[in-house]
């Protein structure tokens, strides 16, 4: 009976440890991969917290506002940094959703639904050329804050 009890305790611990690994390992890896891709391909200009600088657009509490419309949703993927990125569609999808999660204050309830790979694949086929002008027009059309 005690041997059974011992095995039972061990099995319970094994299961909980396995769950901890399963639950934590893949999401933790995805989180690290997205952070690394952000650091390597975005952070140099957009800064660590997404606040941007001078002519570099702010991402923090800004990206989520564009996500309220289909045109804005497409715009975020058509900008040069995203559309021309060396990342593949899957990596870019993961990174864009990571940015939206990390650069939106919790007080700004998410009004966006995460990007899907097929969207990224489609939108990045039409990269923007006149990005500054396009952004200004989009902000006016969507009636967002002018200095966004």
């Amino acid at each position: 009976m005690l041997v059974r009890l011992e095995l039972f305790i061990f099995a319970l611990q094994l299961i909980s440890a396995a769950q901890a690994v399963d639950l934590n390992n893949e999401p933790a890896q995805a989180e690290h991969r997205a952070l690394f891709n952000y650091q390597m391909f975005c952070q140099g200009c957009h800064s660590a917290d997404g606040s941007g600088h001078k002519s570099v657009p702010q991402l923090k509490n800004s990206m989520n506002k564009f996500m309220a419309s289909q045109q804005g949703r497409e715009y975020l993927i058509r900008v040069p940094g995203a559309a021309n990125s060396v990342l593949n569609d899957e990596q870019l999808t993961e990174l864009m959703n990571w940015m939206l999660r990390n650069f939106t204050d919790s007080s700004n309830a998410p009004t966006w639904k995460p990007y899907e790979v097929h969207e990224i694949s489609e939108y990045r086929q039409s990269p923007l050329y006149e990005t500054v002008e396009y952004r200004q027009n989009l902000i006016a059309n969507l009636e967002l804050e002018p200095d966004l």
Binding site: M1, L2, A17, R33, Q39, M40, G44
Partner: protein, 172 residues
């Protein structure tokens, strides 16, 4: 009530006859030791977090220092600053280029931000050009030939830092 008494008495006697106190300790002890061994399994170790600070070795005023693997400029360590701070009177450029360097001590790659320090004339000491991972100017975000002080208040370049900002993602 008697029924309860009899039931618990019988149960207690049965356990007492078929087990020992040492046996119980053995079972609990075995469970605890078994649980403690689980983190030694390779799958658990793979989930380990990244080290917060890299183990370090080498001379930060020498171009050979591991963090400088893609530097092209004067080392701030020799100019009144350090490998991750700017000398007094200069401003760290908020925009920069970012690469990775291999730390020979732990064999892991770290993400390095090569922020320039700006606002004073060139430091002129400890010129270092290693260029590992440097890309041509058409990949400006991965080029050390860009004057990154263009993002600062003054575009006058003084020296270069190499700030560790994280651990590189490597497929396991």
């Amino acid at each position: 009530m008697k029924l309860f008494d009899r039931f618990f008495e019988n149960s207690a006697r049965r356990i007492a006859q078929t087990s020992s106190r040492r046996g119980m300790l053995k079972a609990i002890g075995g469970g605890l030791v078994g649980g403690a061994l689980i983190p030694l399994l390779p799958v658990a170790r793979a989930a380990d977090g990244a080290p917060k600070h890299p183990q370090d070795a080498g001379d930060p005023s020498s171009c050979d220092y591991w963090r400088y693997c893609a530097v092209d400029g004067f080392l701030c360590e020799c100019c009144g600053g350090t490998y991750n701070t700017c000398p007094p009177g200069t401003q760290m450029s908020p925009i920069t280029w970012i690469g990775t360097c291999l730390n020979p001590i732990d064999g892991r790659k770290y993400v390095i931000s090569y922020n320039d320090c700006c606002g004073k004339t060139q430091c002129g000491t400890c010129l270092c050009q290693r260029d590992e991972g440097d890309r041509p100017l058409y990949r400006a975000d991965k080029s050390n030939d860009v004057n990154w002080c263009l993002g600062a208040d003054s575009s006058i370049y003084h020296c270069s830092t190499a700030v560790v900002i994280g651990l590189a993602f490597e497929k396991e």
